[in-house]
Every structure is written in C-alpha cells, then in structure tokens.
Amino acid sequence: MSGLESYINHTVSIITADGRNFIGTLKGFDQTINIIIDECHERVFSTTSGIEQIVLGLHIIRGDNIAVIGLIDDTIDSRLDLANIRGEPLGPVVH
C-alpha cells in the first residue's frame, strides 16, 4: 500500500516543483502521484510581510510537478499566527 493512502481525507501540504506551497484536503491520488486536493489554498511566503493565504478551491495537481507531500497536524497548524511569520519564498526545483 502506498504511504499516501493514510493521508486521504487529511490536511496535507504540497510543495510543487515551481516552489509553491498548497495546503488542502487530500481526496485522491493515482500511480503517477497526480493528486486531488480539496479546499486548497496557497501560502505565499515573504520576508517583508506575513504569510498570505490565497483561497483556490478544488485542484488536480499533476504528479510531475509535485516535490513533497507532507501531513499537516490541524491542531498545530491552527495555532500558527500566519500574519507574523516571515520567510524566504522557495525557489523552483533545479534540474
């Protein structure tokens, strides 16, 4: 069984090859790691202001473009003060 099976219907963070970070509920995946992510939002990091959250909705992300899928602990995540977190945005994957 793929390790992703246990992430289904849980909140995940997806880091894509272009360095973006998507947060949402994992609804499904296939053998090429194409994924369905529901209630998706993007977190945009910046060194000058807090994390900006952009609501996106239902997404299919193609497996080619996925670098990392991480399980999010909802209780810890809800304690984050996004407006006061600064950070360098990630760069794209270098081939």
């Binding site: 499904g28 995946f29 296939d30 194409n34 909705g57 239902l58 997404h59 299919i60 080619d64 473009n65």
Partner: protein
C-alpha cells in the same frame, strides 16, 4: 477517488489549466483521456506574466505539459454519485451472477448463439465482406486466376 475520474466528471464544466511554462488556459472541458490530454472550448489563454491574452474557440493540450487544473468545487460531489451508481450496478451484477436460477441460463443462451453465428459467417463462407468484394472483381474479368484476385483485394 482517482484524479482522472474527477477530471472526466468535470467534462462540460469550466476550468483553469496552468501549464508548466506558466501559461494558463480558461475554458470548458470537452474531453480528456487517460494521459490527461484535454480538449477545451471557448478558451482564454493568459501569458506567464498575466498581461497578454488570446481568445480561441478551442484548443488541445498535451497532458504532460500541465502543472495543475482548477475545477469547480461542486464537481467532486458529482464523482461520488458516479461511484455510488457504479458500485450499485456492480452489486446487482454480482447478485445475478451468484444466483443459480433459470434466468441465469437465459442470459447465457443468446451469447453462445451469437458466437455460433459469428463462426458461421467467418468460417465456411470464407469471410463475409472480403468474399463479396472478390466476387465483384471476378464478375468483370472471368479469366483472372484467383491468386491475382486476392492480391487486388489487398
């Protein structure tokens, strides 16, 4: 739920497709296949920097160039209905298959009948359609040897 079943369910719905090169395509999904190749109708293409736009009546996008697709929220609920309908059908099929009733035998009878018909058509008569063509050729040139007739047919 598989991403490609969701995509199939999204047919006729509007969607946004971002390609790996950063271009985005907004349009209605006409069709898709198992490689995620897609057909869109009434498309607006936006350049990577978002300051140039092109309208086109339709376009075809190779699946491997896609980064992600943004789909209307309600589509995910429609997949569930599809899956439920499918599993209901499957349950009914299993019920029929499991039963040892006369109804079951009736189901099998026509299928074997079809197989016999097929055998007759392609067997003794030497292939329905091809044979007809050869007969037509021979009618015009009666002294042509059969071997040449076969070559002509190919």
């Amino acid at each position: 739920m598989l991403p490609l079943s969701l995509l199939k369910t999204a047919q006729s719905h509007p969607m946004l497709v971002e390609l790996k090169n950063g271009e985005t395509y907004n349009g209605h999904l006409v069709s898709c296949d198992s490689w995620m190749n897609i057909n869109l109708r009434d498309v607006i293409c936006t350049s990577k920097d978002g300051d140039r736009f092109w309208r086109m009546p339709e376009c075809y996008i190779r699946g491997s160039t896609i980064k992600y697709l943004r789909i209307p929220d309600e589509v995910i609920d429609m997949v569930k209905e599809d899956a439920q309908a499918k599993s209901r059908n499957r349950a009914e099929m299993n019920k029929n298959r499991g039963g040892n009733s006369s109804q079951n035998q009736n189901q099998r009878a026509p299928r074997s009948g079809n197989r016999n018909n097929f055998g007759v058509r392609s067997g003794p008569s030497g292939g329905g359609l091809g044979n007809g063509g050869m007969r037509g050729g021979n009618a015009g040139q009666g002294n042509r040897p059969p071997a040449q007739g076969n070559k002509l047919r190919k």
